[in-house]
């Protein structure tokens, strides 16, 4: 079963009496375990597409089904629940709480889940270790480099064990060396089974993905599978192809 299914999705904004169609009939499905890059110039609608994929926004028309659940007409609270259960976000400017430590930032998503909280600290520490910051748990964001902050943000995105990681220009605020580290980390996470969608205009970043969806003027203009820069495709994927 597909993890995300967009069926003829439209998104229309009305500014005064001007109607702007940002998305004009996008159909797309994302399978579990994929590493997809959504590319396009600014104004192409790729960010809106990501907002809808991440349940931050809903389609004006068409349908979006996430993990078998139709989220098109969900209430605000239900959308929050979907985000909390299925989605981990990574943002261009990290968006860590400035007054909280790395560990507290990683723990943030657990404040809003209904699940039991046992072992949350242990899991958060493990995730910090996974992103290479096991010794920085007590540091505030201001005491960390940009790359380290983004690693904390990745650990935060993983905290609730999401089905999909949505990264919006994850390397946009980083130098190229650090950007490489972050992309390698995302590739590694994907190799371990996490579905990753990266929104970017940077071909270098898109090069890590195995599928590239190009968006222009609110429609998908190209959808191609590529050989990942990071190595071979997993065996089971090759068998299915």
């Amino acid at each position: 079963m597909s993890l995300c299914v967009l069926e003829d999705v439209w998104k229309t904004y009305t500014l005064g009496d001007v109607r702007v169609d940002v998305l004009r009939g996008v159909s797309l499905s994302i399978e579990p375990g994929e590493f997809t890059a959504v590319m396009g110039p600014s104004g192409s609608g790729k960010t809106t597409l990501m907002n809808i994929l991440g349940c931050l926004d809903v389609p004006s028309d068409g349908r979006y089904i996430l993990a078998g659940k139709d989220v098109t007409h969900m209430s605000d609270d239900e959308l929050s629940r979907m985000r909390s259960e299925y989605i981990g976000f990574i943002f261009q400017s990290f968006h860590l709480l400035p007054y909280a430590t790395a560990l507290e930032n990683v723990l943030l998503p657990t404040l809003y889940v209904e699940r039991r909280l046992d072992g949350r600290r242990k899991r958060a520490m493990e995730l910090l270790a996974l992103v290479g910051l096991g010794d920085r748990a007590g540091f505030k964001p201001s005491q960390l480099s940009g790359g380290q902050q983004q690693r904390v943000a990745i650990a935060r995105a993983l905290m609730n064990a999401p089905r999909i990681i949505l990264a919006d220009e994850p390397t946009g605020a980083l130098d190229s060396g650090t950007a490489k580290d972050i992309m390698n980390l995302l590739t590694e996470l994907n190799r371990q089974g996490t579905t990753v969608v990266v929104v970017t205009h940077d071909p270098e970043v898109a090069g890590y993905a195995r599928r590239i969806v190009k968006v222009r003027d609110g429609v998908v203009v190209e959808d191609t599978e590529t050989a990942s820069k990071a190595g071979e495709r997993p065996v089971h994927d090759a068998l299915l192809a």
Partner: protein, 406 residues
């Protein structure tokens, strides 16, 4: 429950992070709460003092003065209650277990050997001690025989003992009251004062017959009657009965004012509470004003804070926070700040209260009630004035999280 504490800890981190906001919000609330604390303490103090006085006065007692309101106001001396009135009251009110006439006179010189002291003389019947619930600690009370026989005996208060008998046992000693030689038979327990110039212990008590005939030159007029009733719950009823009884005896027509005055426990409470009332109103208005100002300070600083923290709110929403979670978070922050202000305010009240007590002779009583009212007010300010910014925060759209920049 655990999640509640986690969220509280989360709010507490934010509270500490934005220090300037925290300081201004809690300080402004503290001032208002300080004023409220003082009000509650003053009100409680007044009631406590009133009830202490009622207790001493006797919750089941009435005191009837033989002068009209008008005479009292103009300082004219009237004595409209006669010895016969007292006897008639005794006959007519079997529900009164004590009916004790009194005659008082101030500036009475008492002397023992070469010591002199000016005090207040109270002439009364037997059972003075019982009628005022005022124990005789040494010697004995006045008796029926003392009264009937016009004996020259007296009870003395602590102050007299200190003034005339600094290192002697006063019992059995002979003192002069004006020119009359009187034997001290008992000493009254220490009572303290009810205010400046009202030292209750500065008095001498004698049989009313002796006092009237041999010192005051009165034939049949007494100054006051004290009555105690068996049922303290029906004092209003008894007061009305006594009033109509005396009006009838004095032949007063309808429309004519009383030519006597009845003091009841209820009236004492009313008087003290009214005294406190004006100050309470003054501090109350000040306190409420400062709380409203504090509220606006809070609301504005929180609005600024919400604007500044839009990315944070977006991120919280993106990781699953519902609108209600955000609302609750900002309300928790607001209430945390006002609660801190409440605690500070109680401190201000406790420190400032004694100053007021000192300056204005004001009774103060700090209890958990003053603290509770202060904290409740503080919380209320937090909720009421934190609501609008919190709603604004909750309305921030989650896509704010993905806005570039910042």
């Amino acid at each position: 429950m655990m999640r509640f504490w986690l969220k509280a800890a989360d709010a507490w981190r934010a509270v500490r992070a934005y220090r300037l906001r925290a300081v201004f919000c809690s300080l402004s609330v503290a001032l208002g709460v300080g004023a409220i604390t003082i009000i509650v303490a003053a009100t409680e103090g007044a009631y406590k003092q009133a009830y202490d006085m009622v207790d001493r006065f006797g919750p089941d007692a009435l005191l009837i003065f033989g002068e009209s309101e008008e005479a009292r106001a103009t300082g004219r001396r009237e004595k409209n209650i006669t010895v016969e009135d007292v006897e008639a009251l005794r006959q007519a009110f079997p529900t009164a277990y004590l009916v004790v006439p009194m005659s008082n006179r101030g500036d009475m010189i008492v002397a023992y050997r070469n010591r002199k002291h000016s005090t207040r003389l109270t002439g009364t019947t037997a059972d003075y001690s019982r009628s005022w619930s005022w124990p005789v600690t040494e010697g004995r009370d006045l008796t029926e025989q003392d009264v009937k026989g016009l004996r020259n005996v007296a009870l003395v208060g602590r102050t007299i003992v200190q003034e005339l008998f600094p290192d002697e046992d006063p019992i059995g000693k002979s003192i002069f009251v004006r020119n009359l030689a009187v034997q001290v038979v008992g000493v009254l327990e220490e009572r303290g004062s009810t205010g400046p110039g009202h030292n209750l212990d500065d008095r001498i008590v004698m049989p009313i017959t002796t006092a009237m005939k041999k010192i005051l030159n009165e034939k049949d007029r007494v100054q006051a009657v004290r009555m105690r009733f068996v049922d303290a719950k029906r004092m209003e009823h008894f007061e009305a009965e006594v009033r109509s009884f005396l009006r009838k005896r004095h032949g007063l027509q309808e429309g004519q004012p009383d030519d006597f005055r009845i003091v009841s426990p209820r009236e004492i409470v009313k008087f003290l509470v009214a005294l406190t009332g004006s100050l309470v109103v003054f501090i109350g208005v000040t306190g409420l004003l400062s709380l409203v100002v504090a509220g606006f300070v809070l609301a504005n600083l929180f609005l600024l804070s919400v604007n500044e923290r839009i990315p944070e709110i977006g991120v919280r929403r993106s990781v699953g926070a519902r609108r209600g979670d955000i609302l609750l978070q900002f309300l928790t922050e607001a209430v945390t700040l006002t609660a801190v202000g409440g605690v500070l305010g109680f401190g201000i009240g406790v420190l400032g209260g004694p100053l007021l007590k000192h300056a204005a002779q004001f009774p103060m009583h700090f209890s958990w009630k003053a603290f509770a009212v202060g904290m409740m007010t503080a919380t209320l300010v937090g909720v009421v004035f934190g609501m609008q910014p919190a709603r604004k925060a909750a309305a921030v759209h989650p896509i704010e999280a993905v806005r570039k920049g910042s």
